[in-house]
Amino acid sequence: MSFQSKSRLLLVMLVLGFVSACQTVAPWEREILAKDEMAWTEDPLAQALDQQVYFSKEGASGGLGSAGGGCGCN
């Protein structure tokens, strides 16, 4: 299987996993999701540094863009 079709398959699997594996987590069950290390952007400066350094050395650019998860409070 070529790398391209492998990665396409991976993408499809991810989407299916996404759709089928959801349980609704109630507001009082978000203890683990509220942890710093479960945030998409735990360290904004480290993330900005990585993006800047890789971007200056490689042809591709851009990274994960989502907010989400966390405490869900307020």
Binding site: P44, G68, G70
Partner: protein
């Protein structure tokens, strides 16, 4: 490369402050990361230094110029502050100082091996970047406006962006939309002397959509798509022969996954990005790390990153002086086929509102790891990076 060769060619044009970031500045503001107003003020400082590996592979590889490459120091500052009950303000400043040489041009010798022409060691060049964001929070949604700019002696960039975040399904699903615009102006040094473009500009417009979905009490996944259109002067004015199409359309598909393992109080993180653009460049990036506690207030996070790209359609191993300047051409290593592997290690100390982290990264690239079988650049990079960061919340 021995010092005598360097002395012999000291008369070669000095690359006075090559705009390392001329081709790399992207609108990368740090807008809101959450739908919920932060309850505390956060301040973060980070200081990093990285050193590129010198070019190896023997005397014939470098036609002239220095073999030592860039040494870069980056200092960053970040502030996030809640304002009233519905707003927050972000401020982000960074300073990047670089010194060293970079590939100026390339040629291919009689046996097909590449040789590079390096610039002389340049004087220090520095770049300052300042950004601010204002975010408004409401039930289940947040709006963020960011503006920023960066300045170097030969390059300036101004950008603005908006972000919209919305939560659905009992806050289990989060949708994030981003739109941004950047305008960059370039005034290469010694333009008239070396026949470079005197002044040029380029614009970038980006749109991105991503969805974050909670899978369970300890798992969360994210998927996204981003599109960027760049137009204007996209070539590198500091290279001997570099002509790029004045339009570039970039796509990226991203996926991320976080999993908390309760038994080990550890967190696993995985990310994947598929990138493709109108230069025919394609790239796959995979990152993986595990954060685990040790002793009382310490954490350790080993990580690995694998990157692979194909070459741009107009990449040439050696500069082709008989190719008309109306045709795209470039020997820039960043447009060649190569792969890279990074190994990283971070160690953190956490106590109440304070977190101190030290990171080390070793980055290596090789042409044989690339996506296509094409011969690749000898000026491919390796570097070592060390970074120290402090975060405080109050």
């Amino acid at each position: 490369m021995d010092r005598s060769a360097k002395r012999e060619h000291h008369g070669a044009p000095q690359d006075l402050g090559r705009a390392l970031v001329a081709l790399t500045t992207a609108a990368m503001a740090l807008p809101a990361f959450s739908v919920n107003q932060p309850t505390e003020t956060s301040v973060a400082l980070r200081s990093s230094v990285y050193q590129e590996d010198p070019i190896k592979n023997g005397d014939e590889t470098i036609l002239f110029g220095s073999a030592d490459r860039y040494k870069i120091k980056i200092n960053q500052f970040y502030l996030e502050r809640p304002v009233g009950s519905d707003w927050a303000l972000n401020l982000n400043y960074s300073n990047e100082a670089m010194s060293g040489a970079s590939p100026w041009g390339a040629s291919v010798d009689s046996v097909g091996d590449q040789q590079v022409i390096m610039s002389g060691a340049s004087i220090d060049d520095s770049r300052n970047k300042l950004e601010g964001s204002l975010t408004k929070y409401s039930d289940n949604a947040a709006w963020s406006l960011s503006v920023g700019g960066s300045r170097e002696h030969d390059y300036r960039s101004n950008y603005a962006g908006i972000r919209w975040i919305n939560e659905f399904f009992q806050k289990n699903t989060t949708l994030t939309l981003d739109a941004s615009y950047a305008r960059d102006t370039l005034n290469p040094t010694d333009a008239v002397l070396y026949g470079r473009v005197v002044k040029a500009s380029k614009q970038s417009r980006s749109l991105a959509l991503s969805v974050s979905q909670i899978l369970s009490r300890k798992q969360i996944v994210q998927m996204g798509y981003g599109l960027t259109k760049r137009a204007g002067f996209l070539s590198d004015p500091y290279k001997l022969r570099d002509v790029r199409p004045d339009n570039r359309i970039e796509h990226r598909l991203t996926a991320g996954y976080l999993h908390y393992v309760e038994a080990a109080a550890s967190r696993v993180r995985a990310e994947y990005r598929y990138y493709w653009d109108s230069y025919d460049l394609e790239a796959h990036t995979v990152e993986f790390s595990i954060l685990t506690p040790f002793l009382d207030r310490w954490e350790i996070e080993p990580g690995i990153r694998r990157y692979q790209q194909s070459s741009a359609s107009f990449f040439t191993l050696g500069d082709l002086y008989d190719r008309p300047l109306s045709l795209p051409q470039s020997s820039d290593f960043r447009l060649s086929a190569f792969g890279a592997l990074s190994t990283k290690l971070a160690i953190n100390y956490k106590r109440d509102a304070l977190k101190v982290g030290l990171q080390y990264e070793r980055y290596r690239s090789k042409p044989s790891w690339g996506l296509s079988g094409q011969d690749s650049h000898v000026a491919l990079l390796g570097y070592e990076l060390l970074s120290l960061g402090i975060q405080l919340k109050f």
